[in-house]
Structure formats: C-alpha cells, structure tokens
C-alpha cells in the first residue's frame, strides 16, 4: 500500500514522542528505512511490523494507537491538509458524517490508485441524531482509527457527539455516533479558500 499510512504513523510518533522514539521504533520493527515516502508503495508486512513495534514501544494497545493516530491527523497543527479536506464534507458535523460515503471517491479524484477503506453511514431510527458507521479495509481495527478521526472532527465543528464502538452485528464491529449538541463549543473556522 501507499507509504501515506506508514508516513502518518511516523509523523504521529515524531510529533508526539520525538525523533529518538521514532528511530527506536524503526529499529524494533526492522522497517528497513529511516523514513517513509507517502507517494511510494511499500509491502503490507512493513505496515504490520510498524504498528506492532509502535504499540509495543509506546506501551499502548493497537486500538488506542489507532484512535490516537486518527485524532492526531485531524487536530495536530502539523496536519492541516487532512482536516481541511474533511471539512469540505459539509457545513455541519451531521452533513460531514453523511459525506463519509463519498470519501473513497473524493480521495480517488486526487490520487486515482489510492486504496481507501469502504465507509458506510446509516441514519438510525427516526431521529436524525443517531448514525451507524461501518468501515472495511485491509487493516484490522480501522473502527478505532475512524473513531479518533470523528471525535476530533466533532470538536472541530464544535459539536458534542458520543461515539461508541459496538460488536453488534454479523458484519463485525461498527461505530455508533450520537449527536447531542451542535452548538457545544466554538469549533474551528473553516474557509473554503486556504489562507496563505
């Protein structure tokens, strides 16, 4: 798969734990490189080793690691690109959630051979405040990653939303999202045109 994923983990480790932590993880995981190139493809086995090594070195389960990574990609000041691209999804957090269906198509517009996990969003019941999000990709545990992304996006919109991962149906885990207050916080401003 594209180095983009590995690179995201690399930046996450460096920005939060420092260069030293990264080089230890690169050693432990026998990654064979000091740094990943986002636009080059790497063997999937390298990604597996990278995740195992990061989880071990940072002392957090892979679930927590994924969740933190998702949060980092949206909320860290060094990651302006993913946050902005996601905000194009809608004017409100609810609109954004419903735009997740389109995410793979959107990503492919920019990079045609990018493999993006399939995301499915359903509104639950009659209320428009409950959603179920399913994600399927080559990496196990993507629900946790998505949960981190969505929590950070809810903050970004200034929306209070509760997220839960459920082992609910035959399709495996899914994410339940309940919007409680759309005016909960300030949120961050989003202008269509990038400044500077």
């Amino acid at each position: 798969m594209f180095g983009l994923v590995n690179r995201a983990v690399e930046r996450f480790v460096i920005d939060n734990y420092g260069e030293e932590a990264w080089s230890r993880i690169a050693q432990m995981g026998k990654l064979g490189v000091d740094s990943f190139e986002p636009m080059l493809k790497y063997d999937d086995a390298i990604t597996d080793r990278l995740i195992t090594a990061s989880s071990l070195f940072l002392g957090k389960s892979e679930e927590i690691l994924f969740e933190d990574l998702g949060n980092y990609l949206v909320s860290h000041p060094n990651c302006e690109v993913p946050r902005r691209l996601l905000r194009f999804g809608g004017e409100t957090f609810a609109d954004f959630l419903l735009s997740l269906d389109d995410l793979p198509e959107r990503a492919r517009l920019a990079v045609p051979d990018l493999e993006i996990p399939m995301i499915e969003v359903d509104e639950t019941e009659a209320s428009s405040y409950g959603y179920v999000v399913r994600v399927r990709g080559v990496i196990e545990g993507l629900e946790f990653f998505l949960s981190g992304v969505l929590r950070a996006m809810a903050d970004d919109y200034g929306t209070l939303a509760l997220l839960e991962i459920e082992e609910a149906d035959t399709l495996g885990r899914h994410l339940r999202v309940a919007i409680h207050d759309t005016d909960f916080g300030e949120g961050r401003k989003f202008e269509l045109a990038k400044r500077g």
Partner: protein, 355 residues
C-alpha cells in the same frame, strides 16, 4: 411555432435563493427585483431597486451595452463582471419569466474563477447550493495540490539521493579522494585541451609492514595521512586520487618540465617519509613514483599513459624505492638498461625533441 408549455412556479425569494444563491430577478425595464443571498453578500450592498447594468457589466457578448439589447440576447451565455476592485467575474444564463409585464431571471456562477471569488469574498460552504459542483472543484484543487506537493518533495529527495550516490561512486570513502573512476573522469576532461600535463603514479613503500605489525587501523591512518600530504604537495587544480590499496595517482596540470616534476616528486617522497603517529607508535613509510608527461596529441589513450607511468614506477622500485622516475628519461644511476622505452610522442623527452 409549437405549443409553448408553461410551468407555473410561484416561489418565495428566500426559497429561490436556496436553489440558486446567485440569482437575479429583473423587471422588464432592467431594475433588480430580487437577488440571491450569495450575490448580495458579494456585492456588499442592497441590490433591490438598482439598475442591473449599474451593478453588473456585460463583458460578452460585447454588443450588449443597454438593457434593450440584452433582452434580445437572452439565449446567449453571458459573461458578467460585478463592478468593483477587483471586479468579480461570472457566467450567467438568463430566462424570461411570466407575471405582470414579464421579467428576466438570471442565474450566475463563478465558472473557472471560483477560487479567486471564494478567497476574495471569503465564501463558505453555505454560500453554495448543495448541488453546485464548485465545492467539488475547490476540494479537488486542494487535494491535487497536496498530492503534487508530496510528489515534488519526493522528486527533490530522490534527486539529492541520486547526486550523493553519484558522488560516492567516484569517491574513495577512506580518504575522500576521487577513486579510479573519479580520476578517469577528471583526466578525460583534461585530455581534449591541447595542453601538456603529467600523470604521476605513486606506490607507498613499506606500507605492508605497517599493516602487518600495527594492524589495519594503523594502515588506514597512514593512507589518510598520505592522502593529505600528497594533496599538500600539489597545486590547486591538480588532482590526487586513490586507486586502491597503497597506490595513488596524481594529475599535474600544465606542467611539461621534467626537472620541476622530479622536484615535486622528491618533495612528495620527503613529506611522506616523515613519521606518522598512530596511538603513540611511529609508522614509517616511503614512496616510489613514476611520472609520464603527456604532450596532448589526441592519439594517446589513458590506458597507454598509465602503462607508461607504471613502467616508470617499476624503474623506481627496481632502483631501490623512494625514488622518482620519468618515462622516457633514463634514470641517472645504475639503470642497466632498465630505462623505459621512449615511445610515441607521449614521454616528455620525445615531446621536447619534436618541438
């Protein structure tokens, strides 16, 4: 003419504004009756009651300068600009509406100017209809440029890596001098210049003894020191290279004087004979040197030059080491027919004799 089907739409201005946030509704004589919220936001002032052509200029078709003419061109795509600094550019389609007197409804879009308009007027998602592909276009622009930036950075990193690899391929890592390949590249640059130059082959004497008694690390220090001393004895623009093992090469530029070259060689030997310290122990080496002068006639290959220099070096070794020999010039002391053959025009002596 066929039957004209009418579609009776009775719609509130606010509702129409949701469908088309940049619409303008005009009376039959060109007065703005209503305008969409985004267009009003961009204009930054009240539009209702103003003359259409006072607010917007028709850029194309050029012939439209009065409202009377505009009414006859409603089938054209209109290119409009909102008067202001800088003007905002639009594309528009127009249609006649019913009602008393009949009016004109125009729907405006930014067309390709969408990015400029969005940044100039700080527009947001809510300023566009959900059906407007302008948002997708802005998204695409941003996603593509992020991908392009990454590709550009990748290219820069690959280019740097390529240069380093190229540099390493022609460099001897121990001494930092050019290696054999590096030397060949430099000398081939010199060879077409029609100026004399000399090639010097240098072999360290007693180097094996240092290696055997004090170890490879000592040997490495000796080689590094020898490289520095060799460089110090040469002029700027000359080239010193390591061929591997204890063999070095020198390229002396613009020199054809055998006395001068011999002096350079002897100075070099003297410099190399000064003891080299390694962890409190003294390493002593010397050097044998063979020199060939190339009067650049364009016929001599590098291999031939090196062969002659090697033969001169062989003479120095045979004569008891620590000596300088120049190809084509018989060594002064008991040479016993060991002098190098005076071949072609390459050796210094023949070069001089023919000039």
């Amino acid at each position: 003419m066929g039957i004209v089907e009418t579609c009776a739409v009775d719609i509130e201005a606010a509702e129409l504004g949701r469908l088309m946030p940049m619409y303008v509704h005009l009376s039959n004589d060109g007065i703005i009756l209503a305008a969409g919220p985004t267009l009003s936001k961009i204009a930054g002032r009240q539009l209702v009651g103003k003359g259409f052509l006072d607010v917007l200029e028709v850029r194309r078709p050029r012939s439209i300068t009065t409202f009377q003419v505009l009414r006859n061109h409603l089938d054209n795509t209109l290119h409009l600009s909102l008067r202001g600094d800088p003007p905002t550019l639009f594309r528009a389609v127009a249609a006649r509406t019913g009602g008393q007197g009949g009016g004109i409804l125009l729907n405006l879009s930014f067309g390709i100017h969408v990015y400029d308009a969005v940044s100039q007027h700080r527009l947001n998602l809510s300023d566009f209809a959900a059906t407007d592909l302008a948002i997708e276009m802005l998204y695409l622009k941003e996603a593509k440029s992020a991908a392009m930036d990454e590709s550009r950075r990748l290219n820069e990193r690959l280019e740097t890596a390529r240069r380093v690899a190229q540099e390493t391929a022609v460099t001897d890592l121990l001494t930092g001098l050019p290696n054999r390949r590096g030397f060949e590249l430099k000398i081939s640059e010199r060879m077409g210049r029609n100026e004399p130059f000399a090639v010097m082959v240098l072999d360290l004497d007693f180097f094996k003894a240092v290696n055997d008694t004090l170890g490879h690390e000592a040997g490495d220090v000796v080689l590094q020191t020898a490289a520095k001393r060799f460089l110090n004895c040469m002029r700027r623009g000359d080239v010193v290279a390591r061929m591997g093992g204890d063999e070095f090469l020198g390229l002396c530029d613009g020199t054809a004087d055998p006395d001068h070259l011999k002096a350079v060689g002897e100075r070099l030997i003297e410099s190399l004979e000064a003891p080299i310290e390694y962890h409190g122990r003294e390493c002593k080496v010397s050097a044998s040197i063979g020199i060939v002068v190339a009067e650049d006639d364009g016929n001599t290959t590098l291999a031939e030059l090196l062969k002659m220099a090697d033969e001169a070096l062989y003479v120095s070794k045979r004569n008891g080491r620590g000596q300088v020999s120049i190809a084509g010039i018989p060594t002064t002391d008991q040479s016993d027919g060991l002098e190098v053959e005076n071949t072609k025009v390459v050796s210094f002596r023949s070069a001089r004799n023919t000039s």
